[in-house]
């Protein structure tokens, strides 16, 4: 049976392509791109209720963009904010834009709660009533006589003790200043008006993100021209900037590396065919990866495309081996070429797939997607090389002496010899470099390092946080209890423990449902407190008479109070009157428990907070640091995995090549990986989970290099393949460096670190590989 049938395989390949083309048409119609940063991260690995709480919390935080329009006075600031709002509304990006504070809702809430006024006390007033009711009455007089107490004085008619005024004021502890209908914040010589936008969806499409970014930029300019200043912050802006930067860098780095690769391959082969075939192999790989991945996952993340396409680029190596093999032989045919390179590139594919399989087992959706994407793409590209190239190279008649080939030949003879000559010094120096670098390697797992933002956005963010402590911090508490009463007790316990922290300025603010809604037991207790205290008929009579109330008003107040004894404000009724932010903090009751979120703002000292989780029913949720912990664990896990993959490859090598050669071949990728790590250490580069992917790529290419040098040595009896192998390896190394080493110029920290790791690893693999099969004695002859 004939195995080598180029036309048949090419035809099969073509069929595959038609299927892909059909799939492409299907996939292009759907919404396939994911840009949200959070989609890369695993769902919190914890109990579902915590995950739900995180989801709820993030939703409230992550869809908001906040602007502060600053001008000389409030009127101008609000007018500026108005023009900003108009343009934002016209863009259609936002589901909601809030500038004018709806007064109606405020009044409605006041009226709804007013009839429960004898049941509702804020914590401070309750405490005052318990300890010193006279003091409360004195405070009332102070307020009433103050030149400021207009509003309270007006309320006095229906709320003679100003108890409900106190409760209602405590509902909005921030006491935001409202002028011209909008929230305004004084800031030195400027007044800033607050505008809050909410996106309809957490994951904006790329074009929308671009629009958001450019709109924000143009609004900044517009406001500046009008003599004002516009500050903006919000996670969508950070995401938009990240996506914009990634896109920009992909295109510039892409153009740079493409030009480099084209120049290199054209110079070497003096024929467009190898270049076009390389492009074809990569293109087929990308197309297949994109299409087939979308069969398995609903959306692909932009980072998958960035890293995944770099990983697929390895296929160029296989193609290069194929072409270069032809350069050395007088009677080369694609068939003989394939016979020679097939074991090598098959082994290369195997090691790559092993690595991806490892990544596939990680819990990061981003990594699994990347592994899937790269594995599918690599297989498709590999099949293109093996199935299509023999057919397309049928009449490839390379000239036999290339300038590049002689250069490669000269280098592969002289370079190992020099290394050999100074081996003592070099070994010692190399060992020193490795040990020195590795000892300086510090892992960093902070998730926040993954996000890069320009200083103007981070500065504006810090400024807004300083002016307006409304931004919730990432950390929060989840409080639960077996039933409503149990939950209430637990949350009160937590809030009581938090109060001293705000007094010590370790925390600016905290807020929970129970600081607004007293449970029925508390409501009864509060009523009794009033009944035996300030609402004692003689006491109330004296107080109201002193102020100048008519006797009828005093009597009716006492009647109202007596009539309200059995009233109870239910949680549902309270929720209906609460503002949306507070309402979101209530997570509801189910068969197991009732739950709520206690939010924090302006944490100055994180240390005392996690300890509060010791309180009954309280869980401390610090998503960011939990994710950082997770990063750390998975960095460690992927390290183990990488060691495992290395051992497996070593096992296979030893099984096929024997102990001596197996260890020799394996030493190249091992040393290359160590060099990459040492380089990170010396230069103090970021060392995260993501550098390990670069190491995985280094492992792949370095194994290829070493295996091909080994194969060249093994076939040395018949034809010397070392020159062509060197050329192929050199071309591969330079294209890889051009392609991915250029990522080192990226300003996104992780991409930069990825590039540095890769450049150091591939560079050293290229320098070390010629030592495989180098015979010191032979070269002396």
């Amino acid at each position: 049976m004939r195995v080598y049938r180029p036309k048949l395989y090419a035809a099969l390949w073509l069929l595959g392509m038609l299927a892909l083309a059909w799939l492409t048409l299907q996939n292009l119609r759907r919404d396939w791109l994911e840009t949200g940063f959070l989609a890369l991260l695993p769902q919190a690995e914890q109990r579902p209720e915590v995950a739900n709480a995180i989801e709820r919390h993030n939703q409230a935080v992550n869809r908001k963009v906040v602007w502060l329009a600053g001008a000389a006075n409030a009127g101008q600031a609000v007018t500026l904010a108005e023009t900003v709002k108009t343009r934002l509304a016209a863009s259609g990006l936002f589901a909601e834009l809030t500038l004018q504070i709806p007064q109606q809702q405020y009044r409605q809430s006041y009226q709804q709660l007013f009839s429960y006024r004898y049941q509702l006390l804020d914590a401070k007033t309750r405490q005052a009533l318990q300890h010193d009711p006279e003091r409360l009455l004195r405070d009332n007089l102070e307020t009433l006589y103050s030149p400021l107490g207009q509003l309270q004085a007006a309320n006095l008619e229906h709320d003679p003790l100003l108890l409900f005024s106190r409760y209602f004021a405590a509902q909005n502890p921030l006491q935001l200043n409202i002028e011209h209908g909008a929230v305004v914040v004084p800031d030195g010589q400027m007044v800033r008006a607050l505008l809050v936008g909410e996106l309809p969806d957490r994951d904006l499409k790329l074009d929308k993100l671009e629009l958001l970014l450019s709109l924000n930029q143009s609004l900044q300019n517009q406001v500046r021209q009008q003599g004002g200043e516009l500050l903006a912050t919000g996670l969508p802006l950070f995401t938009a900037y990240g996506a914009h930067l990634a896109q920009h860098e992909i295109s510039t780095i892409g153009i740079g590396s493409t030009l480099g690769v084209v120049a290199l391959l054209s110079l070497t082969f003096r024929s467009p065919r190898p270049l076009l075939l390389c492009c074809l192999a990569v293109a087929v790989g990308l197309l297949a990866a994109w299409n087939l991945s979308l069969l398995l996952v609903p959306k692909l993340h932009i980072m998958t495309l960035v890293f995944g396409s770099s990983l697929i680029g390895v296929v160029v190596d296989y193609a290069l081996h194929f072409f270069c093999d032809g350069l050395g032989l007088p009677h080369w045919t694609p068939r003989r070429g394939l016979t020679y390179v097939l074991p090598g590139i098959a082994f290369g594919l195997l090691t790559s797939l092993l690595g991806y399989a490892g990544l596939g087992f990680s819990p990061f959706p981003g990594l699994r997607e990347m592994a899937l994407f790269s594995a599918l793409g690599l297989v498709a590209s590999w099949l293109t090389v093996v199935m299509l190239f023999p057919f397309l190279l049928a009449r490839f008649r390379p000239q036999h002496q290339f300038g590049m080939l002689s250069l490669a030949g000269y280098w592969q003879r002289s370079w190992p010899e020099r290394l050999h000559r100074y081996r003592r010094y070099l070994c010692a120096g190399f060992a020193l470099l490795l040990v020195g670098g590795l000892s300086q390697l510090r892992a960093q797992d902070d998730v926040r390092l993954l996000q890069t933002a320009p200083t103007e956005i981070t500065a504006a963010d810090a400024e807004i946080r300083r002016l307006l402590p409304i931004g919730r911090d990432n950390q929060f508490f989840l409080v639960s209890g077996a039933d409503l009463a149990d939950w209430y007790r637990n949350e009160r316990g937590l809030l009581d423990a938090l109060a001293p922290l705000t007094a010590q300025a370790k925390l600016k603010q905290f807020d929970g449902v129970s600081s607004h809604w007293p449970d029925p037991t508390q409501q009864r207790a509060d009523y009794q407190l009033l009944k035996t205290g300030v609402y004692r008929p003689d006491l109330l009579q004296r107080y109201m008479l002193n102020l100048g109330f008519e006797q009828t008003a005093i009597d009716s107040e006492l009647q109202n109070f007596a009539a309200a004894e059995s009233k109870t404000l239910s949680l549902d009724d309270w929720l209906a009157s609460a503002n949306p932010n507070l309402r979101q903090q209530w997570l509801g009751c189910n068969a197991e428990a009732c739950r709520s979120i206690v939010v924090l703002a302006g944490i100055a000292d994180l240390a005392p907070l996690p300890a509060l989780a010791a309180l009954p029913g309280v869980v401390w949720v610090d998503h960011v640091s939990q994710l950082s912990d997770l990063f750390q664990r998975y960095r460690q896990r992927v390290t183990v995995l990488l060691v495992g993959v290395c051992s497996l490859i070593m096992g296979i090598l030893i099984y096929r090549l024997g102990w001596r050669d197996g260890v020799h071949v394996m030493s190249v990728p091992l040393l290359a990986m160590l060099t990459a790590l040492a380089t990170l250490g010396w230069f103090g580069e970021l060392f995260t989970l993501f550098n390990l992917f670069a190491l995985l790529l280094v492992l792949e290419v370095a194994v290829d290099y070493a295996v091909f040098f080994h194969m060249a040595a093994a076939s040395a009896g018949t034809v010397d393949k070392r020159d062509t192998t060197t050329l192929a390896v050199a071309l591969s190394a330079f294209t890889t460096l051009l392609g991915y080493g250029l990522l080192a110029s990226s300003s996104t920290a992780i991409v930069h670190a990825f590039g540095v790791t890769l450049a150091a690893g591939v560079g050293s693999a290229f320098l070390l590989a010629p030592l495989i099969g180098f015979n010191a004695n032979k070269s002396k002859q």
Binding site: A74, D139, E142, Y145, P147, Q150, E157, E179, V184
Partner: protein
């Protein structure tokens, strides 16, 4: 045609007159970095049979703000800075319009008032009366008008609320010391963060 041009001329004159009036009143007031005096405040609430009357001392200092010290019927101290309000019950939110208006009135910085109110003035040879109408419709819902009256000093402020309540503050025994007393300085120190 003639009437129209007269009307335009008159409107124009009226508009400039308002600005001029602010300047004219300001020129009558004695400028000083520190002003102190006695106040008597009467709040007439329509549901109370008698007004809430309080008396005390005030101190105004250009850069720092106002000390409003009530002596009777209950003793209390109110400190009003640019963005802060401190009462004996602790720090409270300061309505920004108040934070600007109150010191502007006491300091005689009438131009400042033009930002938040539309103004009109009645000038007599030795006295004046200024009417302030809120520009911010939100403020307008609560406050109908503020009337200031005086001669070479601000003598009274009257705040009419839309609900019918009226507050009147009268000032007398006004003096302009060159320096703050140690006690006043200590109160102001509490305002600086």
């Amino acid at each position: 045609m003639k009437t129209l041009s007269t009307l335009i001329l008159w409107l124009f004159a009226a508009a400039t007159q308002a600005v001029d009036a602010l300047a004219a009143i300001k020129s009558r007031l004695v400028p000083a970095a520190i002003v102190q005096g006695h106040f008597r405040q009467e709040k007439q609430l329509k549901f109370l049979s008698k007004p809430l009357v309080s008396e005390g001392e005030f101190t105004f200092q250009q850069q720092r703000g106002v000390i409003w010290k009530t002596v009777s019927p209950v003793e209390s101290v109110l400190l009003i800075g640019e963005n802060r309000l401190i009462t004996s019950q602790g720090e409270q939110a300061l309505p920004a319009s108040f934070g600007r208006v109150f010191p502007a009135m006491l300091g005689g910085d009438l131009a400042e008032l033009g930002a938040d109110f539309s103004t009109s003035a009645e000038m007599q040879p030795d006295s004046w009366r200024l009417t302030l109408l809120p520009k911010d419709p939100l403020l307008g819902k609560a406050i109908a008008a503020i009337y200031l009256a005086g001669d070479s000093e601000l003598r009274s402020v009257e705040i009419r609320e839309t609900g019918g309540n009226v507050s009147r503050i009268g000032f007398d025994q006004i003096s302009r010391p060159a320096q703050l007393s140690p006690q006043q300085a200590a109160e102001f120190a509490r305002l600086s963060p």
